[in-house]
């Protein structure tokens, strides 16, 4: 091995301690040079640690408290510093027919629990060859960029294959909402959906913004989105959904960041990388 080659850092996100330890040990055997010191046990920690330590490889459990592996990947895709190469992602999941099918169609790298050493060996080889190819042209900025592009394309595809297994909802096809009912003190405010300019998700609530007021509803975008008309309401960020009829202009700055200006509102909304393709010209 060449001396100046930087160590490759991994992050393992797995909520079950024995499984985290097992994966760590197996990877340690198969790839002794890999830095395996970063192990976290939930989705929120995974995002924080990843943004802090900037690992090269992520092993993400799909079902974790806080955030699922896919949500972690999406948040990282949105927040990852542009000058850094985006990490390689390997999803880890127990038997889940749906997830496996989705991963296969989107050519996502995944390993199944219980992890077979043979299967993990293959993944390790693939990762190693990827990093070997990358090292000679670290100066080339297009290469790390392409990994992010690939992940974004995968996430987009995974989103399109609606996800009945994530979360508890197996609701067939939700009926479209006509009116949003928001509690304001002891009263219920009825907001016709077409009057909503945008929805912004916070921890447990969604802020519903209209020209006159903003109100909180206790829900998540995951629950709300299937009930909205997708031709009218576009998700533009993991926590923002905008009414396209209320968008005045999409502005792209030098760094490629897209910002929306709105009709009847002074607010400006940021479009994340994952959804930037929605604002390409026709």
């Amino acid at each position: 091995m060449i001396n100046q080659q930087p160590t490759i850092k991994a992050l393992i996100a797995e909520d079950e301690p024995i499984l985290a330890l097992t994966l760590q040990r197996m990877l340690g055997r198969l790839w002794p040079e890999l830095d395996l010191s970063n192990v976290v046990e939930n989705g929120i920690e995974a995002v924080h640690t990843a943004l802090d330590r900037l690992p090269d490889v992520l092993f993400l459990d799909i079902k974790m408290p806080g955030k699922t592996g896919l949500e972690v990947a999406q948040e990282l895709a949105e927040e990852w510093p542009a000058e850094q190469p985006f990490p390689m992602i390997v999803y880890v999941t127990a038997y889940d027919e749906f997830a496996i099918k989705a991963f296969e169609t989107c050519a996502v790298d995944y390993v199944l629990k219980p992890v077979s050493e043979e299967r993990l060996q293959k993944t390790v080889r693939r990762l190693q060859s990827h990093f070997q190819a990358r090292v000679p042209n670290t100066s080339d900025q297009r290469n790390p960029e392409s990994e992010l592009e690939r992940v974004i394309a995968q996430l987009r595809e995974l989103h399109q294959i609606a996800h009945p297994q994530t979360g508890a909802q197996n609701i067939p096809v939700a009926e479209k909402l006509a009116v949003i009912r928001a509690a304001v003190g002891n009263n219920i405010r009825l907001i016709p959906v077409e009057e909503v300019i945008y929805f912004e998700a916070t921890d447990k609530y969604i802020n519903v913004v209209t020209a006159e007021h903003s109100s909180l509803i206790r829900s998540s975008l995951r629950e709300l989105l299937p009930q909205l008309d997708s031709s009218l309401f576009w998700q533009i960020h993991r926590s923002t959904v905008v009414n396209v009829k209320r968008v005045k202009m999409a502005h792209k700055d030098e760094a490629g960041k897209i910002t929306l200006t709105l009709k009847n509102s002074e607010d400006k909304l940021t479009v994340s990388r994952v959804y930037a393709h929605l604002f390409k010209q026709m």
Binding site: E16, P17, R25, Y95, D96, P114
Partner: protein, 373 residues
């Protein structure tokens, strides 16, 4: 008429104890036969005016009517047994047998009045064509009337049989579906447990051994309770403990649990897969998705003459109080509705189920059942 109906009803009621359905059917037809015979008497006396007294004619009518009836019934029984004849065949039979019944009936009546049979028959022969025609006509009318009654009774019986059968099939299908649902061990849970086991074998073989033992208990209990109709609380608690033990190994320090089953309730019978799904739900929706985890308590207690089962957790809690929204279409409600329906089917109003937010955090599910002893 009203009296006759009443009598016939009484008859039928008192005859319901007789198991022989054919006999019951025949006897139930007698009031109708008597009525028809009476009608004939009136017809012969006042329309045909044969000159005999009304009493005489009544006896003759009854004798002839009864003869016709017995003949038609026995021949039709002999010919067709249980399988009902076609209507046309039945009519033809009636028309052929009516004159024979007429002659025999006349002879019997003559004997009753000690009239010389030959002179009666001779006397009758003057009216023979009218009498035979009348008997035939009456037979046809009577046949029609009886036929309809038979048909209707048959249809009703068939419909009832059909209804009973569909109900039985439906019940069986539901039972089968329920058991299948109960016996379903989530593959996700199974593979996750196996993954932990795989890891533990290398890290801590002793704990791996324990985990394997608990997995066996869990699998055996899950598979066998889904077949049994009833299980006792002790059995159910063993199953739940095995399950929680498995989950606790997986979740590490994020899960703490307690089980509380008083000794005197150990042998209480409860339906299988009633308590365990509640525990699984509390883990799946309450504790597993919660970052810091929490505690789950399962307890059984006696309350007056009922059994109270409680699953209390400090997990994420419910999106809202399910009691406030009994007819919510929320998907998690489906499982709850199933529990309610099952309890209602098994115990009626004597059982209850509630799922509420637990203060300050988490949820509490309570099932109340009548005590089995």
């Amino acid at each position: 008429m009203g009296l006759v109906q009443q009598l016939s009803n009484q008859w039928q009621r008192s005859l319901q104890v007789i198991p022989h359905s054919l006999l019951r059917k025949l006897i139930s037809e007698i009031p109708r036969l008597l009525l028809i015979n009476l009608f004939c008497t009136l017809l012969v006396t006042f329309v045909l005016r044969n000159g005999s007294s009304i009493f005489e004619n009544w006896v003759f009518s009854n004798a002839i009517g009864l003869c016709c009836y017995v003949l038609i019934r026995s021949v039709s029984y002999y010919l067709w047994r249980a399988t009902p004849p076609t209507m046309l065949a039945f009519y033809l039979l009636s028309i052929v047998l009516a004159p024979i019944g007429f002659v025999f009936g006349s002879m019997i009546a003559a004997t009753l009045f000690s009239y010389p049979i030959t002179s009666v028959l001779r006397f009758q022969s003057r009216f023979i064509s009218a009498f035979v025609a009348l008997t035939c006509l009456i037979s046809v009318v009577a046949t029609w009337s009886f036929w309809n009654k038979i048909k209707i009774a048959e249809l009703i019986a068939n419909a009832e049989k059909e209804k009973a059968r569909t109900a039985a099939i439906e019940r069986q299908a539901m039972q089968a579906q329920l058991q299948l649902l109960q016996a379903q061990i989530e593959p996700h849970m199974l593979f996750n447990t196996l993954a932990n086991l795989q890891g533990l074998i290398a890290i801590d073989p002793e704990r791996a051994q324990h985990m394997l033992t608990q997995l066996i208990v869990y699998l055996r209990a899950t598979l066998s309770t889904s077949r049994a109709e009833n299980t006792c609380l002790k059995q159910e608690f063993i199953l739940i403990e095995a399950y929680l033990d498995l989950i606790a190994i997986r979740m590490g320090k994020r899960l703490r649990y307690t089980l509380n089953l008083p000794l005197e309730l150990e042998q209480e019978k409860i339906p299988p897969m009633l308590l365990q799904p509640l525990v699984e739900n509390a883990i799946k929706h309450g504790l597993e998705p919660k970052i810091e985890g929490g505690t789950i308590n399962i307890s059984a207690s006696k309350e007056a003459d009922s059994l109270r089962l409680e699953v209390r957790d400090t997990g994420l809690g419910l999106p809202f109080n399910y009691q406030d929204v009994p007819f919510s279409t929320e998907s998690t409600q489906v499982g709850n509705a199933n529990i309610r329906e099952r309890l209602f089917a098994l115990f009626g109003e004597k059982a209850a189920f509630s799922l509420m937010s637990h203060v300050p955090e988490g949820a509490v599910a309570i099932v109340t059942l009548p005590l089995s002893a």
